[in-house]
Symmetry: C2
Subunit: 279 residues, 2 copies
């Protein structure tokens, strides 16, 4: 077993931890780093399978108990691997136990409501493990980069988000937020692959190239969003994600730790069933 | 390769095929039969993995093309293995590509609407593979057995269902309905297992025993429901399901055939991407 660094070294300082938070920068995290890798890809994959089976069992307990709720939020630039993470981390988990919610650009009906309206209706119910593939954070990032949200409006939205996530957390939800952190170079390689392979064209939209041109603006918006919304009840983690295997292992380890901390148990046996014979 | 019998031998005669339909009986299908088994459990499991990978690729094409929609309806008595089928058949399929909709006893809000209201809102969108874990057929079966739906009202609901499924099918949906057919003996064994294992008590409800007492009434309701709603655009198949491995293989083969018939292809390459270099 390789000695792992502390997952908490990758946690964004909490919002109320003023000084530390002010010094938070994505530059402190190397997208190429593989701190949770054993050094061997085969060993990493074996570990991922192992954690996957544990997650499967924990999910069944979560479901059986029907008390806790778990929300995993995945964010990251285009090609950062949100889809790939879901596929790899949850390969062993019963699909019946997952609810994956993709958030696309808001529709006219959704835009006619406050920005958390469509998100709230998708919050996990008791016993559910819900994954947001993109999320309400898009409504911070995109309008900021497009110049439609000034600094005050940005902080106002962050405040709404903290309060919203507090409501979910105080109502029994465990919230875990992961930013899949890739380098600009790695994105270039991955976008080029999609362009060069006609079978991958359907994954590609020219707007991806426009967003890439605003790389720095997005990175800054991410930094500000993470710093303003990482809280004790809904922490953000930065996941070095240039290596896909590392990214998968780290997200899996984080989720495993989080679910283990919930001390999920099967509900107690029903005394009334003792000795019952089915006819 | 074992020679398989014809999947269509397990299809319930179409509604408009009057004479054949009138002779339809679940007794013609032995729940213990394993027509799609090779005779070796290992070989069957290997085949299931193989089909799983093919289904994964077909699902990606379905998603990439965003044209067709696929709906798999799973019905069956308690313990017939609806959950287990989903888990086994879709183990290799990307969880991002599945939407699994469980239908429980209707809530007061749902009961305040027509019985297809809650179902329609869950119909598959373009590019989606949706699985109904129980379905609108519960609204035929349960009230019939409980004496709340007389023969005329039953046929009226069947007519609504045929028209509803026709709407979905004519709008691009491929509908496949599987009745997991177990024997009364096998159900006894499986219910007893749940009772005898305290870790499985959460899966057990005393109402399961009440439903079991009405086994024959349910079988008759199933027979009438299947005969009245098996159509060319939404056929029913009876899946011998006393053997879990056989059940999984047969549902997988059926889905594979159905998806293959759709001739799903990746969308054509985008000419505009030719030679584009990412900067």
């Amino acid at each position: 077993m390789t000695k792992h660094p502390d997952l908490d070294d990758f946690r964004v300082p909490y919002f109320d931890d003023g000084k530390k938070r002010n010094h938070f920068s994505l530059d402190h995290f190397d997208p190429k780093a593989k701190p949770f890798s054993s050094g061997s890809k085969d060993a990493d994959r074996a570990r991922l399978s192992e954690v996957g089976l544990l997650l499967d069992n924990l999910q069944e307990r979560l479901h059986a108990q029907r008390k806790r709720r778990v929300l995993l939020v995945l964010q990251g630039m285009d090609t950062s691997g949100k889809d790939g993470t879901i596929r790899a981390v949850f390969h062993e988990v019963d699909p019946l136990g997952l609810r994956i919610v993709p958030f696309k650009a808001p529709t006219p009906v959704e835009l006619a409501h406050d920005f958390l309206w469509r998100v709230h209706s998708q919050a996990p119910a008791a016993g559910e493990l819900t994954i947001f593939n993109r999320s309400h954070y898009e409504d911070l990032l995109v309008p900021t980069v497009q110049g439609e949200l000034d600094a005050d409006a940005f902080q106002q939205r962050c405040c709404h988000i903290r309060q919203f996530e507090q409501l979910l957390a105080y109502s029994g939800a465990t919230i875990l937020k992961c930013m899949l952190h890739i380098s600009k170079d790695e994105q270039r390689v991955r976008l080029q692959e999609r362009i060069d392979d006609p079978l991958k064209h359907w994954k590609f939209d020219v707007s991806d190239l426009e967003a890439r041109k605003q790389w720095d603006a997005y990175q800054n918006a991410y930094r500000d969003a993470l710093a303003a919304t990482s809280t004790e009840y809904a922490p953000w983690y930065v996941i070095p994600a240039d290596s896909k295997t590392h990214r998968n292992v780290m997200v899996a380890e984080l989720l495993l730790r989080t679910l283990n901390e919930l001390k999920l148990e099967y509900p107690p046996a029903k005394e009334s069933l003792k000795g019952v014979k089915v006819e």
